[in-house]
């Protein structure tokens, strides 16, 4: 395992950020801040930045590919991804066009993460029926798989358009593809489906002890054997704040992560987070909140336990002050990532 290749990314939903004086940024300012942060991450050598798509007041990013296009112009090496693209409430053909455009603009640094979406605002917004939440995804991931085949499309779907011998532009260069992964939550079926299409899997682990997800990891490997597919590097994403002062990191987390979780919880039927649960998430659970060394130790331990090759840190949850966001990114790139690699003995 000495030469295992690890990937470390940053994920954000474009939560409306705060200026250091405590006033909230508007959407425009947040978008510009996120682009600036992508450049910072690129300068630090972080492997990837991925944007989630939301259609709610607390998030500025509803059109990730536009933001990724702006990032492409100011960065050199960092991969530009989504986390996730809700394919079910989108048109796979248009999604393909947007990503093949990004492919051209970024020199092939794009990555799409497909997901059913844990937020559902996009469905009524774009005229899709939530009742078909699963069927829409089933059909569209099949269509996406077909779109990546470098052949004129012949498609006859139930919930999608009929295409006969149709080319989709811009064409991808020969032998190049749109890097595709699938983001999953707690549904066994989602993992199995991703493997069936031979896409790598990212698991959202946002609560509880990460080792709780061991059965899902085992299921991934089992599905690979069952369908005779390729073992791709497995990844997970979790929330975190990395500051020099552990207590400060904790308080920032309590102020912002908890508030965000409680806001989402209103729609999800989650009970409000208790301080006790919050402390548990930091000590033993899924929050990577603390000093660079604390976060690195915890991350190495969990990546090892779950056999993970990729980790994405969800940063800026609930907004946070500009300097807190940037400090997290800096600590992640300069200290945490090299330290985790050292602890795991890989690249």
């Amino acid at each position: 395992m000495a030469d295992k290749k690890y990937t470390f990314g940053l994920d954000t939903f474009g939560d409306l950020a705060f200026h250091d004086d405590g006033t909230q940024m508007n959407g425009d300012q947040t978008l510009q801040q996120v682009v600036k942060e992508a450049k910072l991450a690129d300068d630090l050598g972080i492997d990837l930045i991925a944007l989630g798509e939301h259609h709610r007041p607390e998030f500025a990013i509803s059109s990730p590919e536009v933001v990724l296009g702006a990032m492409a112009a100011v960065t050199k090496n960092i991969k530009l991804g989504t986390a996730v693209t809700v394919l079910s409430s989108d048109d796979p053909v248009r999604v393909f066009e947007r990503f093949s455009t990004l492919h051209g603009l970024s020199g092939g640094r794009e990555q799409i993460m497909l997901g059913r979406g844990s937020f559902t605002e996009s469905f009524p917004l774009y005229g899709y029926d939530l009742e078909k939440y699963n069927e829409l995804f089933e059909e569209k991931i099949a269509m996406w798989d077909e779109l990546l085949k470098h052949k004129p499309m012949n498609w006859n779907g139930k919930l999608t358009q009929k295409l006969t011998n149709t080319k989709i532009f811009p064409l991808l260069p020969k032998n190049e593809t749109i890097d595709t992964v699938v983001g999953v939550g707690g549904s066994p079926e989602s993992i199995v489906r991703a493997v069936y299409y031979d896409f790598p899997v990212m698991i959202a682990i946002i609560g509880g002890e990460p080792t709780r997800f061991r059965p899902y990891v085992d299921l991934y490997h089992r599905a690979v054997a069952e369908y005779k597919k390729t073992e791709h590097p497995l990844g997970m994403h979790s929330h975190g704040i990395i500051l020099e002062d552990a207590e400060e990191a904790k308080e920032v987390g309590w102020k912002y992560i908890r508030a965000e979780m409680d806001r989402i919880g209103i729609d999800r039927g989650w009970a409000p987070m208790t301080r006790d649960r919050f402390e548990f998430e930091i000590d033993k659970g899924s929050y990577y909140v603390g000093t660079p060394e604390q976060v690195a130790q915890k991350l190495a331990k969990n990546m090892k336990a779950l056999d993970m090759s990729r980790f994405d840190l969800v940063y800026g949850t609930g907004g946070q002050l500009q300097h807190e966001r940037e400090e997290t990114i800096r600590n992640y790139g300069e200290k945490v990532i090299p330290r985790v690699k050292e602890l795991l003995g890989g690249e």
Partner: protein, 252 residues
């Protein structure tokens, strides 16, 4: 809220054919219908706690078996009809909107624990099934007219069934239930205990409405004493007020 005594429940005239009784020695066989987030989690918890678990879903046994063998080693994968035939107690872990796929004849005389909720993501944007005047478990009881339905396992998030339970080994989390059949209360309580929870009797099935999405009780994984305290204040909540608006009174 004044807790209704169990005697205010409608007396059931249904026979308890096939009905496992808590007084017997061996553990009842639990049949789970649905193998998604909730079904697979309950199967794992059940087998880890040494309960005989059967599970079936809309997938074929061949497609589901290796998934269950991985996610809940020890649980037995069968076709849904076989699960129903062979289990003493059935847990519904399917989308609420698929309840009419269930066969009322096959489920006649069985204890059925209804863990479903109306959930936008799976049941569609508009709820045409249940309302503040008829809870979803009452709809299911009406459909499964000859089954002994209890609402149970519905108010705790599937992740918290493991996280909050594992985190508090010394103080069990309350699992509330409601049913119109007094004769199954001991069995339901036995099953909830066997899964590692502290059973909390809400009374007749109509009180199950207090456990549904939107209620302050929904999503709670807390000790019984705290849960009971929340019940006391339920009508001070927006949800409680909505119930009174819709029904013209509290549930009684």
């Amino acid at each position: 809220m004044r807790r209704p005594s169990a005697t205010t429940a409608k007396r059931s005239s249904r026979g308890s054919r096939n009905c496992w009784e808590a007084s017997k020695m061996a553990e009842p066989t639990i049949g789970i219908i649905g193998a998604g987030k909730l079904g697979s989690t309950l199967a794992r918890i059940g087998t880890q706690r040494g309960l005989p678990i059967l599970i079936g879903s809309r997938h074929s046994v061949a497609d589901l078996k290796w998934i269950i063998d991985t996610m809940a080693p020890g649980a037995v994968t069968l076709s849904t009809p076989d699960v129903i035939k062979q289990a003493d107690i059935i847990i519904l872990a399917i989308p609420l909107s698929s309840y009419q796929d269930l066969d009322p004849k096959a489920l006649a005389g069985k204890i059925v624990l209804d863990a479903t909720n109306y959930w936008k993501e799976v049941d569609g944007t508009v709820n045409n099934i249940s309302s503040l005047t008829e809870s979803s478990s009452e709809v299911i009881q009406n459909y499964l007219a000859d089954s002994l339905v209890a609402k149970a396992f519905n108010h705790m998030g599937y992740h918290d069934l493991e996280i909050e339970v594992d985190r508090h080994p010394d103080v069990r989390r309350a699992m509330a239930y409601a049913t119109d059949h007094d004769e199954i209360r001991p069995t339901v309580e036995h099953v909830l205990s066997a899964f590692g929870f502290d059973p909390l009797d809400m009374g007749p099935l109509r009180f199950g409405l207090l456990l549904e999405p939107g209620s302050p009780l929904f999503g709670e994984a807390i000790p019984k004493v705290d849960f009971e305290d929340k019940i006391k204040h339920i009508y001070e909540s927006d949800y409680g007020k909505k119930i009174v608006m819709a029904r013209g009174s509290r549930i009684h």
